[in-house]
Amino acid sequence: MKKILTTLLLVLVAATFAATAGAQKGGPATTLFGGKGVLAPDGTHRYVALTTGRQTLVSVVRVHGGQVVRWLYVRGFVGVPVVGEDGTTDGISRDGRTLVLAGTPEGRPNDRVVTSFAVVDTASLRFRRVTLPGTWAYDAISPDGSILYLIEYENYGRTPTYRVRAYDLAARRLLSRPIVDRTIGERLMRGWAVTRATNSTGRWAYTLYARQGSAPFVHALDTVQQRAYCVDLPLELRRPGQMRLRLVLRAGELAVRSAGETVAVVDTQSFVVQRR
């Protein structure tokens, strides 16, 4: 009965809050069911997750025409990862071969919390499961689908704290060292993921984080070299204002925009920031 209630609750949570609930609470990033899903890198198909609560159906939908050309069933509740409060979705490697779906952290007997991910081979539509003890969320995937980047939550209360970890999908193991900020060596991160821009090769994932009482920052993750840089943005904005910021990538720079206006520019080589 407890299991059924938990499942129902999960379905309700997913259906009601879809992409935003977790981010607003500072909890683990959420997953998306239905809607836009995640677009394949070639733009021809999108992967959309649908659920009965106990089963997830992953559908491959043709962008032009809307036909569902293939699908697969995954036992359990896994959805398309949402990586920003603005609803940006992710989960597909740039080579288009690997799709990652994220589960919701769930309690097991003895209060042991685990988080599951489904890693789908998009050619065969076969999947395997990655289950980790603790509260985790999807962050990014390397262009060739070999390394999965995950957010390990230490605390997801009012001010969530977490670290970015790498999982070697080929070796099927979590790499022991967290991805540490190369500029200041900080391991533990704080803030709410607002929006994400990914470069055309899929190598760099730039995520803008909002913070309470501090300036926002951009977390630049090199998904090939397993390194990251935290770039503080000198913007005097309270958290609600930070939550409205967006990122636009263009020729060697990352524009931080607010209400259609560029308010700062980050050089993607040097990570030097210029206010506008």
């Binding site: 069911f33 239905g34 809607g35 836009k36 899903g37 198909h45 999108r46 959309v48 649908l50 659920t51 009965t52 609560g53 089963q55 159906l57 559908s59 939908v61 043709r62 962008v63 032009h64 025409g65 809307g66 036909q67 569902v68 050309v69 293939r70 699908w71 069933y73």
Partner: protein, 277 residues
């Protein structure tokens, strides 16, 4: 032998209906996933997926593939196919009702056939229809009030069936079959090859292939509950009849019977006069 025959027809149904159509020995069957039904005018297609104990129904926007809405329905339903070329049905002309069907028992065997009607806006089930025996979806009236079903009497190479109507507002099966107004026939035979529907969803024209006889078009007026069987004077063996297609032209005034790119006969949809070309 009977079993073999049923299997052969099932295989034919699968081939004709596309990779995701499950075969039925007595009807074109149901389709899961793929194109579902809809999309031409509304821009939305409705797709069903059979899950272990339930069905997921999704409304997919055709222009960008977004899943606008989805629901889970208890039971195992699919989008009904109305002919062996894979034409799907189930959507009313006004676009407000969607009929999904299940597989029933073989004709003559005990069991029930289940259908559900969903509101396309909310995807909620507004009507559930359970009928004893072997039935399949045929058509629905433009306003979604009348459901037309095929009651299967016998399966096999020479199937026999009749078209019945179900009043969805009154929730009852209308007694008697929809009788052919031309030959006064109630029981029909032949394999549904292809379907064309008038733009308002009122007329469902289904071309049937027959063994050792010419094909015919069953013109069903889903508003007036009337049907007309129109023999098409073509000397074609049944396998060639299975290659025929229908195309409405001239604002629905004529129905072209085509064999690949060639129009081989034209039917006047007012008089039902047939002209070979």
């Amino acid at each position: 032998m009977k079993k073999l025959l049923a299997l052969a027809i099932t295989a034919a149904a699968i081939t004709a209906g596309g990779a995701h159509a499950n075969g039925s020995p007595y009807s074109p069957g149901l389709v899961y996933g793929w194109a579902g039904v809809g999309a031409q005018n509304s821009g939305v297609r409705f797709v069903a997926f059979g899950m272990p104990k339930s069905t997921i129904v999704a409304a997919v926007r055709a222009r960008d593939g977004h899943v606008m809405k989805s629901t889970v329905v208890r039971g195992f339903y699919g989008v009904p196919l109305v002919s062996y070329d894979g034409t799907a049905g189930g959507l009313s002309g006004d676009g407000k009702s969607l009929v999904l069907a299940s597989y029933g028992p073989l004709p003559g065997e005990a069991g029930k056939t289940r259908l559900i009607v969903l509101n396309t806006k909310t995807l909620s089930v507004v009507r559930s229809v359970v009928l004893r025996g072997s039935w399949s979806y045929d058509a629905v009236s433009p306003d979604g009030s009348q459901l037309y079903l095929v009651e299967h009497i016998a399966a096999g190479q020479n199937p026999r069936y009749r078209v019945r109507s179900f009043d969805l507002r009154a929730d009852r099966l209308i007694p008697g079959a929809i009788v052919d107004r031309i030959d006064r026939l109630a029981v029909m035979g032949g394999q549904p090859v292809t379907r064309a529907t008038s733009s308002d969803g009122r007329w469902a024209y289904t071309l049937y292939a027959r063994e050792k006889r010419e094909p015919f078009v069953h013109a069903l007026d889903t508003v007036r509950r009337e049907a007309f069987c129109i023999d098409v004077p073509l000397e074609l063996a049944q396998p060639l009849q299975m290659e025929l297609r229908l195309r409405l032209a001239g604002d629905g005034g004529t129905l072209g019977v085509r064999h690949f790119r060639e129009t081989v006969a034209v039917i006047d949809t007012k008089t039902f006069g047939v002209r070979r070309t």
